[in-house]
């Protein structure tokens, strides 16, 4: 890799061990990925991995936590600072870590989060390079904002934030942002769950070659909502790892199909129609077993918060069912300020404090981690990410196609097909 003088100084230790270590990791990463140079990043984020919050593997004894803590302490000892804006969400309520991160120059931007781009701000802008912590951040920024980002996880984010640089490879390069696979969407997408199913189908089909960017055509761009897009982005990471895609007429880099492919022919084409959508719904179809837990885990925005309230008001969640919802920061604020939280809780709705958490018999649990231990056998959800992830517990996790069916299932204590 060619480094400039500043980067060379960091690498050779002129600014101390912390910058040296960070630059060594970035250079090794860059050389492995055939990067030719470093580029400056405008923003870094550590929303998802925010320390000891006890869900999705962020356990107190987590070795990555200790690795990053040691690195943060080395930085503090040398009075090193993040060289670009760095945001974190206080998922962990880990005050020690928050203090360390603040001293390094990071900003706490939200009290709790849904680990989705709903809660990430300020967003970077078109053409800028960024280092997002959450994969669904990468999947939102690349295709929807035209920001250039790879998905490297907390280690990469730390090193990039400290040096203000990242190696130029993957989705940072012009040639890797062009479409490779044409996806013709020939089905009606009724709601955000259908959008998740569409994303899941594409991600699954391309899962072993996620670097071949799919371009979607056939979308009615006037009907799409931001919830649809967020849901699609989240699903593109499960079961595959699509960090970038293009939608004709929505993605800034895909005003037309020709521009999306850079004038080249697609290497592959496929259609997603009702049969393909059914294939995914069938994969996670309910068996008819009585649900132990029902969840709305795709983060509730304000619009869907009121939808849940309308569907539930005056009714009660079934006594044998736990019904838990996950909220964006904005929706949580609205729910608390305007009395929605109290109304929902009076109906029996359980609100975890942050992403990944569900209340179960008075205990905060993560279904991906704890289901078997606490005796959950059947889970009904609106989230394909849950269907994919909580299956690691070898329990039944089933998807229902609308918020109405999910809530009716929670009220009646039996699955509404």
């Amino acid at each position: 890799m060619k480094l400039n003088k500043e980067e060379e100084k960091m690498l050779t230790g002129a600014y101390g061990e912390s910058y040296k270590k960070a630059m060594e990791i970035l250079v090794t990463m860059g050389e492995y990925s055939s990067a030719e140079k470093m580029v400056p990043i405008s923003w870094a984020d550590l929303t998802t991995f925010s320390g000891r919050w006890g869900g999705h593997g962020d356990s107190p004894d987590n070795d990555l936590y200790h690795y990053l803590r040691d690195f943060e302490e080395l930085c503090l000892k040398e009075n090193a600072k993040f060289k670009c804006p760095m945001t974190i969400v206080d998922v962990s309520k880990d005050e020690e870590r928050n203090e360390r991160m603040k001293k390094l120059g990071a900003k706490l931007v939200a009290p709790a989060g849904a680990s989705s781009p709903h809660d990430l701000f300020p967003w970077p802008l078109f053409g800028q390079y960024a280092s997002p912590g959450a994969t669904n951040g990468t999947t939102f920024f690349n295709p929807i904002l035209g920001v250039r980002a790879n998905s490297e996880g907390p280690i990469g984010v730390h090193m990039a934030a400290l040096t203000g640089r990242t190696p130029e490879y993957g989705y940072l390069l012009d040639e890797n942002r062009l479409g490779k696979v044409l996806v013709e969407v020939k089905t009606e997408l009724k709601n955000y769950i259908d959008w998740a199913v569409l994303g899941f189908y594409i991600s699954r089909k391309l899962s072993a070659h996620y670097w071949d960017i799919p371009v979607l055509t056939g979308i009615d761009t006037l009907k799409v909502t931001s919830d649809d897009i967020m849901s699609f982005c989240a699903s593109m990471n499960h079961p595959g790892s699509m960090g970038h895609f293009l939608i004709e007429g929505i993605s800034p880099e895909a005003p037309t199909i020709e521009k999306a492919f850079g004038g080249k022919e697609p290497i592959e084409k496929f259609v997603v129609g009702p049969e393909e959508m059914k294939e995914i719904y069938d994969l996670y179809a309910p068996s008819g077993n009585k649900p132990d837990i029902v969840t709305v885990r795709f983060p509730l925005t304000v619009e869907r918060l009121y939808e849940v309230l309308n569907l539930l008001e005056g009714k009660k969640i079934h006594q044998n069912v736990s019904f838990a919802v996950n909220l964006t920061v904005h929706a949580r604020t609205v729910a608390e300020r305007f009395g929605v939280r109290k109304k929902l809780e009076a109906c029996g709705v359980l609100m975890g404090e942050t992403q990944g958490q569900v209340l179960w018999n008075g205990e905060i649990i993560d279904p991906w981690v704890d289901s078997r231990r606490v005796g959950i056998k059947t889970m009904i959800t609106d989230s394909l990410k849950d269907c994919n992830g909580a299956r690691n517990q070898d329990i039944e996790v089933a998807l229902l196609p609308s918020l109405e069916k999910i809530i009716n299932t929670a009220i009646n204590g039996k699955v509404e097909v």
Binding site: Y32, N62, G153, P239, G240
Partner: protein, 146 residues
């Protein structure tokens, strides 16, 4: 007669390692695919029947882990670090094309990794084959089990 195949690529990360291969046909996300590690990081069984049909029930501890790429979420980072601390990390990673999260894991845990070889490792290598990875040279030597 010994049946050897050599795959060549570019310089990888780390040094060299050898061992028995376990070959996944599906990309890996440890958060969603290996449910037992939450309670016991040394139990590296693939527990997700739908997502990982080619390796369901099998373990990757102390083997050469061959898989197309990483997928989904960034939590493979912390889970693999816990697995490594429990002494159950794979000896090397071989990918069709490496996901950035796994390249960084290789750097931090000093586990050799190679990708972009001249043949598809998920097709050429079979579970049970003996594999030697020389990441510095970007070479993989496969001794077929049968």
């Amino acid at each position: 007669m010994e049946n050897k195949i050599v795959l060549k690529g570019h310089k990888g990360i780390g040094e060299s390692a050898e061992g028995e291969a376990i070959v996944c046909q599906e990309p890996i996300n440890l958060m969603a695919d290996t449910g037992n590690v939450w309670n016991d990081p040394s139990d590296t069984s693939f527990t997700n029947k739908i997502a990982m049909p080619s390796v369901y029930g099998k373990k990757f501890a102390n083997k050469i882990l061959v898989f197309p790429t990483g997928k989904g979420g960034i939590f493979s980072s912390n889970i693999m670090m816990d697995i490594a601390a429990a002494g159950a990390a794979p000896k090397a990673f071989i990918n069709v094309r490496t996901h950035p999260v796994w390249a960084l894991l290789s750097i931090v845990l000093k586990i050799p990794i190679v990708d972009r070889l001249d043949q598809n490792p998920c097709e050429v290598i079979k579970t049970g084959d003996w594999v030697r990875v020389d990441a510095e040279k970007g070479i993989v030597e496969v001794t077929k089990k049968n």
